[in-house]
């Protein structure tokens, strides 16, 4: 399996202090086949062949690099999860399945996840329209050669009827330490629920918001067009959440500066001195360092470096950089060493 040396999501995009990345996911199924869960292995393989052999035309001249998941090692699967190119559910599945990734690693196509196709784009910062355009272009290129299951009444038909309609999930990964430290997070979560938004952890459904990173996405997919959904997220939902977070950070700076400075500088000092670091601890400390950089409390470290480290400290990425990280204990030594070196230079 060949992946880029560095994921493009470690770059810094628009509104980087709060919006880490923008993500679009389209759920599609092929007409004439049972959904993945009910299909036979022969049918699942047939779906894989139809999709991987589809001629995508001029929109994707280089095509996608397809990785047959049955031929990957656990570390490779973990690497794909850490880059958010596949879901945890997809990585852990035992069904015949494959993932296609474009040269920039901004588009990935999971075949035989819960639906036949999960087309996903991920871009750094707040760039939802760009992410949507890219996913839509793949969707349109593919629909020239395959027929999607569609009903005029219900829209794109999905295995889970709660995803039916436009089948579009619009999401952003937000860094919300301000709301957490000012005790506002529960209120925001309740408001999000009322607005039919899902707030999930670092690696999606069922995962924790380690480092105060939250994935926010729409729960409703029926009754409005993709353009309206995108407009709401781009013009209302995300700017509103970004404003709440910035206000919380201002409040912290004005009314509880010692607490804020302590969290940031304690994180910086630990990262610069620690000899053993677990992945979760490193993520939490780097997240606080990230907050310090955004509030100009840490002048000598760039946001790009922290973004890169946030990915490099994850287990599979660490093992790729430092082959000595063969188990958890050696990984803790390797991780601490990697972070110390990076923050010294």
């Amino acid at each position: 399996m060949r992946l880029r040396e560095e994921s493009s999501t470690v770059q810094v995009g628009p509104e980087p202090d709060v919006v880490v990345s923008s993500r679009i996911r389209l759920a599609r199924n092929l007409a004439g086949f049972p959904f993945v869960g009910r299909a036979s292995d022969a049918q699942r393989h047939e779906v894989m062949q139809l999709v991987t052999r589809a001629q995508l035309g001029g929109t994707f001249p280089q095509g996608l690099a397809w990785v047959n998941m049955a031929q990957t090692s656990p570390v490779e699967r973990q690497l794909l999860v850490e880059r958010h190119l596949v879901s945890r559910h997809f990585a852990d599945s035992t069904l015949p399945r494959t993932v296609g990734v474009d040269a920039e690693e901004t588009l990935s196509v999971m075949v035989n996840e819960e639906d036949h196709l999960r087309i996903q784009t991920i871009l750094p910062g707040f760039r939802l329209p760009d992410a949507f355009d890219r996913a839509r272009r793949f969707d349109q290129a593919l629909e020239e050669t395959v027929d999607f299951a569609f009903s005029p009444r219900w829209g794109y038909l999905t295995a889970c009827p709660t995803n039916v309609g436009c089948g579009v999930r619009v999401g952003v990964m937000l860094h919300l330490p301000g709301l957490r430290y000012t005790g506002e997070m529960e209120r925001v979560k309740r408001a999000a629920k009322d607005m039919h938004l899902a707030m999930r952890g670092f690696y999606g459904e069922g995962t924790e918001a380690v480092g105060n990173f939250y994935q926010v996405s729409n729960q409703l997919t029926l009754g409005f067009g993709e353009d309206e959904l995108l407009r709401r997220f781009t013009e209302e939902t995300v700017p509103q959440l970004v404003e709440y977070e910035r206000t919380a950070r201002r409040m912290l700076t004005e009314s509880n500066r010692p607490l804020l400075e302590d969290k940031v500088h304690r994180a910086a000092a630990t990262l610069r001195a620690a000899r053993l670091l677990g992945a979760e601890e490193a993520t939490k400390l780097l997240a606080n360092l990230r907050l310090g950089i955004c509030l100009s409390l840490i002048p000598d470290v760039s946001l790009e470096l922290v973004q890169r480290l946030l990915l490099q400290v994850q287990p599979a990425h660490l093992a790729r950089i430092d082959p000595s990280a063969t188990d958890e204990d050696k990984g803790r030594i390797a991780r601490a060493s990697l972070v110390r070196r990076a923050l010294r230079s």
Binding site: N29, A31, F33, P34, F35, G37, R38, E114, Q140, E143, E144, D147, F148, A149, F150, S151, P152, R153, W154, G155, Y156, L157, A159, C160, P161, T162, V164, G165, C166, V168, H196, L220, T221, L222, G223, F224, G225, E226
Partner: protein, 169 residues
């Protein structure tokens, strides 16, 4: 008929009509009690017999079709299996499990019951026609209710010109 929450026979049956949408509740004695329903411990026939002084002649009541046993002819999935997993078996399940699946979708989608977004390029006209049909049907209902029969006839002609119901693919 079985209880919605376990395999015991249901003794409480309720049909709820809310916002024009019908949903059914079937509960065993235990779950009915948990949810606050009053469950008689003496069979109704016995109670009636006490009042009338004799056992009444019980007329057979036609049974409603149990949605749990409905099977999709396309993939063989039963509605009960769907209720357990939350996942449908094939695109045809949407038609096979109507109207129950419509209620599930409406609940999950905050009351939305019609797709209004994009369609695959080859089917774009089809989606437009379906949206138009829904709109005309609503106008037709309103016209009939208001006794505007000329307008209703014109709307009916427009509906007929749109052609037959498009089947889900």
């Amino acid at each position: 008929m079985k209880c919605d929450h376990c395999d015991k026979p249901a003794v409480v049956h309720e049909v709820v009509i809310k916002g024009g949408v019908t949903s059914e509740v079937h509960l065993c004695a235990e779950h009915a009690a948990q949810k606050g329903y009053q469950v008689p411990t003496v069979p109704v026939t016995q109670l009636l017999a006490q009042f009338a002084g004799q056992i009444p002649v019980v007329q057979p009541v036609p049974q409603r079709r149990d949605p749990a046993g409905t099977r999709c002819p396309g993939c063989g999935l039963t509605f009960a299996e769907f209720r357990q997993s939350g996942v449908l078996g094939c695109p045809g399940c949407y038609e096979s499990f109507m109207p129950q699946i419509g209620t599930v979708i409406e609940r999950a989608q905050a009351g939305a019951v019609h797709h209004v977004g994009r369609a695959p390029r080859r089917l774009e006209g089809m989606a437009d026609r379906a949206a138009m049909r829904t709109k005309l049907l609503q106008e037709l209902d309103a016209a009939v209710a208001a006794e505007q029969y000329e307008r209703a006839a014109s709307l009916r002609d427009r509906l007929q010109s749109l052609g037959g119901e498009d089947a889900g693919r």
